[in-house]
Amino acid sequence: MKEVTTQDQTTHESASLSRRKFLNYAGVIAGAGLLIASCKKDDVQPTADADTINLGSNDTGLLNYAYLLQQLEAAFYIQVLKTPYSGMTKTEEGVFTQIRDHEIVHREMLKNYLGTDGIPPALENDWSSIDFSLKSSVMAKAKFFEEVTVAGLNGICRLVIAEEHLVILAKMSVVDARHSAVINDMITPGTFAEKADSNGMEVSQDPQSSIDITKKFFKKNITGINLPKY
C-alpha cells in the first residue's frame, strides 16, 4: 500500500475524484494507523443480481449496511402512515411522521453519499410478518427496528475506519436511539433505556448477526460476507 501523504488529502478534497476513490481514500487517510496493520487486497464492491444483494467490503460495505437499515426503517414508517391501524391517535401519528422523515433523511443522505457504490435504492420489503392494521403488531415491529438499528449502527461504529464515517454513524444512531426510547415508552412507560447494560451502555451488535435478523424483511437475499468482522 502506498504511503498516505498530505498530497492525498488535497486530492481527497478534490471534487474530480470518483466517489469510489473518495470512499477508499477517506478510509485510508483517516484510518491510516489501523489500516497499515491490516492491509487488504480483497476489496469487494457491492453487487446486486436477481437474487442477492452483496453489501461489499470495507467502509463502503459497512455504510451500505447502514443504508440498508435506514431503507428498512423508512419503508416501514411510510407503510405505517399509508395504512394506519384503526384508532391511531394524533400523537402517535405525529411521532410516526417525524420519525419517518428522519429515516428518509438518513436513507437519502447515505444514498447520495454512496453514489455508485451504494446498493440499489428502494429494495423491496417482505412485510409478511407484520399486520399493519394492528397497533400491537406495528408497535412491536417499530420497537424491533429501532433497537436493531441502534445496535447495528453502534456495531458498525466499531468497525468503520474513516473518522468522518464514524462520526456520521454516531450522529444518526443517537437520533435512532431517541426514536427507540419514545417507542418503548409508548408501549411500556419507563422502558426507554431497558437496553442499557450494567455499564450504562447500549449493547451493540456485529453486522453478521444483525444482518441475520434483518434480512427476512427484504425479498432479495442480503449478504454481508465481505464486511469487516469483529
Binding site: 496493520a37 464514524l166 415508552d185
Partner: protein, 270 residues
C-alpha cells in the same frame, strides 16, 4: 505484535479480569506509541500540529476525562433532584432512578478505565444547578427542572459524540463511548417527553437550536445544532422529498466542541 492484535487483546479483556491484568497499562502505553508513530490521519495532524510531542494516549485520556466531566454533572443533577423534597412527582421517580443508575454506571466505568491505565481521575466538582441563581427554580419547580435536565441531557449526547471522535484510534473505547451516547440519547428523549407531557410543544429530538429552550445559560446546549449539511449533502428537501428544516436538523445530533462544552458547563459548577 500487530496493532490489530493489540486492539483485539484490549477488546477481549473485560473490566473484571483487568484487575489482574497488569499488562493493560503497558498495552495502552505500547498502543499509544505505535499509533503515534504510524498514524497520520488528518484529524490527528490538525490536532497535533502545534504539539509536536503529543502522545495518542494523551488524547484517549483527555477524551475519557471529557466524557467523565458531563457524566459527573448528570449524576449530580439526578442525585440532587431525587433528594429534593416535592420536586419529582412519584409517577416520574422510577424513570429518574433508572437514569441515575445508568449515569453512575458510566461514571464508574470511566473512573475504572482511567485508574487501570494509570491516569489521574479528576475530582468531582460541586454543582449548583441554579447556575448561581440565574435559574432560581431549577431544583424547586418541576417544569424548570425538566428544562434544565433536558438541556444537560442533550448537551451530554453531543459531548459524547465529540468523545467518540476523539477516541477514533481506539476501537474499544470509541465503541464504549458510542454505546453510552445512545443510552444518553434515550435518557434525553425520556426527559424531553416528560416536558412535552406538561404541555410544551416539543418532541424527543432536537429541532434547530431548540426554540423551547431559549433561556440564557441553557441555550448554549443547542448552539450549532441547526446543521443541514451532512457529509457535504444538503438534507433539507433532499432528493425532492418534503423534508423540512425541522426534520433535517432533528435527524442528526451534532458533536459539541470541547470549548463550547466548557462554556455550557461552567455556570453550573461552584
Amino acid at each position: 505484535m500487530k496493532l490489530t492484535d493489540i486492539l483485539k487483546e484490549i477488546e477481549s479483556i473485560q473490566p473484571e479480569t483487568f484487575e489482574n491484568a497488569t499488562g493493560r497499562r503497558d498495552i495502552l502505553k505500547n498502543l499509544g506509541m505505535k499509533v503515534a508513530a504510524i498514524a497520520t490521519p488528518f484529524a490527528a495532524v490538525s490536532m497535533f500540529s502545534n504539539k509536536a510531542a503529543a502522545k495518542t494516549t494523551d488524547i484517549l485520556a483527555e477524551a475519557i476525562v471529557f466524557a467523565l466531566g458531563i457524566s459527573y454533572m448528570q449524576s449530580a443533577l439526578y442525585t440532587q433532584a431525587l433528594a429534593a423534597t416535592g420536586l419529582i412527582p412519584d409517577s416520574a421517580a422510577d424513570g429518574f432512578k433508572k437514569i441515575l443508575k445508568d449515569k453512575n454506571s458510566q461514571v464508574a466505568y470511566w473512573v475504572y478505565q482511567l485508574t487501570a491505565t494509570g491516569n489521574v481521575v479528576p475530582g468531582v466538582p460541586s454543582y449548583d444547578f441554579t447556575a448561581k441563581n440565574a435559574l432560581p427554580k431549577a431544583m424547586t419547580d418541576y417544569g424548570t427542572f425538566l428544562t434544565v435536565a433536558h438541556a444537560i441531557e442533550d448537551a451530554g449526547v453531543r459531548m459524547y459524540l465529540t468523545a467518540v471522535q476523539m477516541l477514533v484510534t481506539n476501537k474499544a473505547f470509541r465503541t464504549d463511548a458510542v454505546n453510552m451516547a445512545t443510552t444518553n440519547a434515550r435518557h434525553a428523549a425520556h426527559v424531553r417527553m416528560l416536558r412535552r407531557n406538561l404541555g410544551v410543544d416539543m418532541m424527543a429530538w432536537i429541532v434547530g437550536t431548540e426554540p423551547n429552550s431559549i433561556v440564557g445559560e441553557i441555550k448554549k446546549a443547542y448552539q450549532n445544532e441547526d446543521n443541514t449539511t451532512q457529509l457535504k449533502v444538503n438534507t433539507v428537501g433532499i432528493n425532492g422529498f418534503a423534508i423540512s428544516f425541522n426534520a433535517a436538523t432533528g435527524a442528526f445530533d451534532e458533536p459539541m466542541a470541547e470549548a463550547d462544552a466548557k462554556i455550557f458547563m461552567t455556570p453550573f459548577i461552584d
